[in-house]
């Protein structure tokens, strides 16, 4: 019996991009359904009644929500190639720690940057501090996962397509403060098709952000 894999998606979402990268790395065929977050489908509300959020992975009719949980599920089920997590328990705990750190920080701080309200300066500083912390963690490695991308790379790289929006809305340069991280992002896109295919162009994200700001009455 062939597997049926469906992804409930929203194209600008960094969290959904993570899942697309993972599915791409594992060579899994799937159907992608675009959601309108201002008009959520019955399917989404049925598959994720608790949070009503994307991404949701539906595998043979069973839904899995929360992107890092989805990544771990994908890694466990399709374990024939491209492992996302290290096999050593300690290395695994460290990878999960950093993926969780990215979850706790980047989205919410980034949002405060592009929204451009009174706390924007504070948010810019916090964002740079987080990215510098991550840059230190990357060190001299090619990827956070070592020689190949792993869960931390997959967790972080989608946000890099939002960097242009953060920079333009906040009037600052991320590359100036974190050149190694920007180089790492480029390396991921150049060497991994799953990454280049999952990430929209930064200008598309910026267009989306400006539309959203208009909608929220921020412009």
């Amino acid at each position: 019996m062939e597997d049926e894999v469906v992804l409930l998606d929203f194209w600008p979402s960094s969290f959904a991009m993570r899942v697309k990268i993972a599915l791409g790395e594992k060579g899994i065929k799937y159907k992608c359904k675009q959601e309108d977050l201002f008009n959520k489908s019955t399917l989404l509300l049925e598959m994720n009644p608790i949070h009503k959020k994307i991404p949701v992975l539906i595998h043979n009719g069973k839904p899995i929500s929360e992107s890092l949980i989805i990544l771990q599920y994908i890694d466990q089920v399709w374990n024939h190639k491209s492992p996302l997590l290290p096999s050593d328990p300690y290395q695994r705990s460290q990878a999960l720690f950093w993926a969780d750190y990215i979850d706790k920080k980047i989205y919410s701080i980034g949002r405060r940057v592009w929204m451009g309200k009174e706390d924007q300066e504070e948010a810019k500083e916090e964002l740079m501090q987080c990215l510098k912390t991550l840059e230190r963690e990357l060190g001299d490695k090619l990827y956070f996962g070592g020689q190949n991308i792993g869960v931390v790379d997959v967790a972080l790289v989608p946000f890099t397509t939002w960097f242009y929006s953060y920079e333009t809305c906040g009037n600052f340069s991320i590359e100036a403060g974190c050149p190694k991280l920007v180089a790492w992002a480029k390396r991921c896109k150049e060497n991994y098709r799953s990454v280049s295919e999952a990430l929209p162009h930064p200008l598309q994200i910026y267009e989306y952000v400006m539309e959203l700001k208009k909608r929220l009455g921020l412009v």
Partner: protein
């Protein structure tokens, strides 16, 4: 078997620390218990071993520090596999569901509980109380799904979600008393009430859950400390 290189840096009052201790008890792993005083400035050991968040628990195994309680639980489950029961299910889908509900406890339920504890105004408290009660009803539903008629979220044995939620029971009781409400009520969440009793009485848990009066007293001091830190400086 005594493990000389297993250490828990934490405090008796923290539910996140309790999670780690319950997991170690389930696996029959002996450990060194290092107490951090939450009302005092942070220790050197804490600042050095958790530079990113500076929070407890920090779990040490062979001098390697691991932070974040749910990540520690997964580590313990992966390293000590020979004894008793698994904390996480082996089936990938069931595993994902356990992770989902543990994350719900941490991302939704606990923050609402915390807001209820430190709520400065009556309005704040009322909103937080509604969220907490709604959360218990959601968790009652989750219990029905996951337990499949058995005593615990993990089935016959205590598992990931049991530990994640059960570690909060002491605080749930203390905060409930403060608000003069039973947060986990017989009326709305009868299964959770029963589960709470089973969980608290479990061999691996009963010595870890703190005395409620001691916790209530600590809660007042902690609330005062937090509110003082949040107060605008003039």
């Amino acid at each position: 078997m005594a493990e000389s290189n297993v250490k828990v840096l934490g405090t008796w009052a923290s539910p996140f620390v309790m999670r780690v201790k319950i997991a170690l008890h389930l696996k029959s792993v002996r450990y060194e218990d290092v107490e951090e005083d939450l009302l005092a400035p942070k220790s050197e050991l804490l600042l050095k071993s958790n530079p990113v968040y500076k929070k407890i628990p920090v779990f040490f195994h062979a001098h390697n520090p691991i932070c974040e309680s749910l990540i520690i639980l997964q580590y313990i489950d992966e390293v000590w596999t020979t004894s008793a029961s698994s904390i996480l299910p082996s089936d990938p889908y069931e595993r994902s569901q356990s992770r989902f509900w543990a994350a719900y406890v941490d991302d939704k339920f606990f923050p609402a509980l915390r807001r209820l504890l430190i709520g400065a105004t009556e309005e704040d408290k009322k909103a937080a109380l509604e969220e907490v009660v709604e959360g218990t009803v959601v968790l009652e539903g989750a219990f029905g799904e996951l337990s499949k008629g058995k005593a615990f979220f993990g089935g016959d044995n205590i598992g990931f979600v049991d530990i994640a939620l059960g570690s909060l029971l002491g605080w749930i009781e203390v905060i409930g008393k403060q608000c003069e409400t039973k947060l986990v009520s017989e009326a709305k969440t009868p299964r959770l009430v029963q589960w709470a009793d089973c969980f608290s009485a479990h061999e691996a848990v009963k010595d870890v859950l703190p005395d409620v009066d001691k916790l209530a007293d600590f809660g007042l001091k902690l609330r005062a400390k937090i509110l003082k830190a949040l107060a605008p400086t003039n």
